[in-house]
């Protein structure tokens, strides 16, 4: 394959004119159609398949896709395929299939045209090939445009600054509602059923019982009066007193007085050196 590849019509060649395209004489072969044989492998790699190769041949020869001269195109395509086979290049079956298709179209175009013109248009054997070529070309263009769109990591980067976080264990949240529900579950099924109503007053006493126990941390006797803070008002004093009585009743504290009018001392009944 030493001669330049030529897609121009092979008939009717006047001096200097090597062909005619749509009535216009062609004087020069398109230079870029000549591809040295040793570049075949590169070419095969460069094309994405038979449609791509065909499209290249057509576009380079400046042929209207909608009016493909089948004879020269087929000839040229076959030359490529032959050259590739000659060089023992692994030729995808797609290329051979396309060769067969081209040959079939060419032979059908040689058949006598039907008499009615409108039918002739409808039955153009090239129609399917043209459709595929145009669709493929559209895909090629779309691919190029997609590739041209700004793309993350190639043309821009996402912003994502470091999120500073105190390392805190996520602890379960408990709402008052949760506590209510929990208590109700207990109340509904426990022996507590009969006396589970707890009034605010009762809670207040129990809270003060806890407060007094906290004050009594440790082993020592504490002066009775020191458990009470007059600044908190009468109500608080009364509740504190009730709490102390309740603590005594539940035998959680011990109250001692050595003699009448002597100082009263309070001490935790467990008498231990406190917890913790």
């Amino acid at each position: 394959m030493t001669a330049p590849l030529d897609l121009a019509p092979l008939v009717d060649v006047p001096n200097g004119v090597i062909g005619r395209m749509y009535g216009q004489p062609i004087f020069d072969l398109p230079k870029d159609l000549y591809i040295p044989p040793d570049a075949l492998e590169v070419i095969l790699d460069a094309f994405e398949g038979p449609l791509d190769l065909l499209l290249y041949l057509i576009r380079k020869a400046n042929i209207n896709v909608l009016d493909i001269p089948m004879v020269p195109l087929t000839a040229q395509y076959l030359e490529y395929v032959e050259a590739m086979r000659h060089h023992n290049l692994a030729l995808a079956a797609d290329y051979l299939l396309m060769a067969a298709t081209l040959l079939e179209i060419k032979s059908r175009m040689l058949l006598p045209r039907p008499s009615r013109p409108e039918e002739a248009e409808e039955l153009d054997p090239r129609a399917e090939l043209v459709r595929r070529l145009l669709e493929y070309e559209q895909t090629k263009l779309a691919a190029a445009r997609l590739d041209a769109l700004p793309r993350v990591e190639r043309d821009f980067e996402w912003v994502g600054v470091f999120v500073a976080e105190k390392v805190v264990e996520r602890l379960p949240e408990v709402s008052l509602h949760d506590l209510q529900l929990a208590w109700m579950k207990i109340a509904r099924q426990s022996r507590l059923k009969q006396h589970h109503t707890i009034q605010r007053e009762e809670l207040s006493v129990r809270e003060h019982m806890t407060l007094i126990l906290r004050k009594l941390r440790g082993d020592a006797f504490v002066v009775f009066e020191s458990l009470f803070d007059p600044a908190l008002g009468v109500a608080s004093l009364v509740v504190s007193f009730l709490a102390t009585l309740e603590l005594v009743k539940e035998r959680l504290v011990i109250i001692t007085q050595n003699e009448a009018f002597a100082p009263i001392y309070v001490k935790r009944a467990d008498g231990a050196a406190g917890n913790d």
């Binding site: 058949l111 043209v130 070309e137 895909t139 691919a143 990591e153």
Partner: protein, 190 residues
């Protein structure tokens, strides 16, 4: 800290968007606050913010998944200098397959092969799938039950598109075809 002023709400929005590793929709941005500021206010502040960032190397954009900050294209030449590895350059086979899936989804591998006129290698589809740009969204009820490929939201986001309708328009092949009135029917049995 409870945001009281509009300015503070804006700061919180900005902070959340700067910190976001993915686009944040307005509905999520509203959840940032104890008291929902409403979508109108959030949208207004986002537009405000986008304006505040004019002239900076970073811009606030709206993508398929929501709002996010991204660096401006002009700065990539600098950022590239710090990169350890080049971003992948995709082969024509990959790009053409992506184009077919993007514009004609959902399509099977067979559809792609019909259009490209060659066998589509498994690697090509794997490349697109591992980038998270396409996935199988169903199966066509034909022999072999071939998978139907479609593009993902990540594809739109990575290309800065809000929806498929923002894809560059296809060259108007249909119009050309109509002009010549080519038949699409079967070949006659000659």
């Amino acid at each position: 800290m409870q945001p009281e002023t509009i300015e503070q709400i804006k700061r919180v929005l900005e902070t959340a968007l700067l910190a976001g590793s993915s686009p944040v929709p307005v509905s999520d941005l509203r959840r940032l606050f104890d008291e929902d500021p409403g979508s109108d206010l959030v949208r207004r502040l986002l537009v405000d913010l986008a304006e505040d960032w004019q002239g900076k190397g970073v811009e606030l954009v709206q993508t398929a998944g929501g709002w996010r900050f991204q660096t401006r294209l002009e700065y990539q030449v600098y950022l590239d200098r710090l990169k350890q590895e080049r971003p992948p350059k995709y082969s024509r086979a990959v790009l053409e397959t992506l184009a077919i899936i993007a514009y004609r989804q959902p399509v099977t591998r067979g559809d792609i092969e019909d259009i490209r006129g060659v066998v589509v290698s498994t690697n090509v589809l794997k490349t697109l799938e591992s980038r998270g740009w396409v996935d199988v969204v169903g199966y066509r009820d034909t022999p072999g039950r071939p998978g139907l490929y479609a593009t993902t939201r990540k594809f739109l986001e990575d290309l800065g598109l809000r929806s498929l309708t923002e894809l560059p328009p296809l060259t108007e092949i249909e119009r050309i075809m109509d002009l010549v009135d080519l038949p699409k029917t079967e070949e006659p049995a000659v």
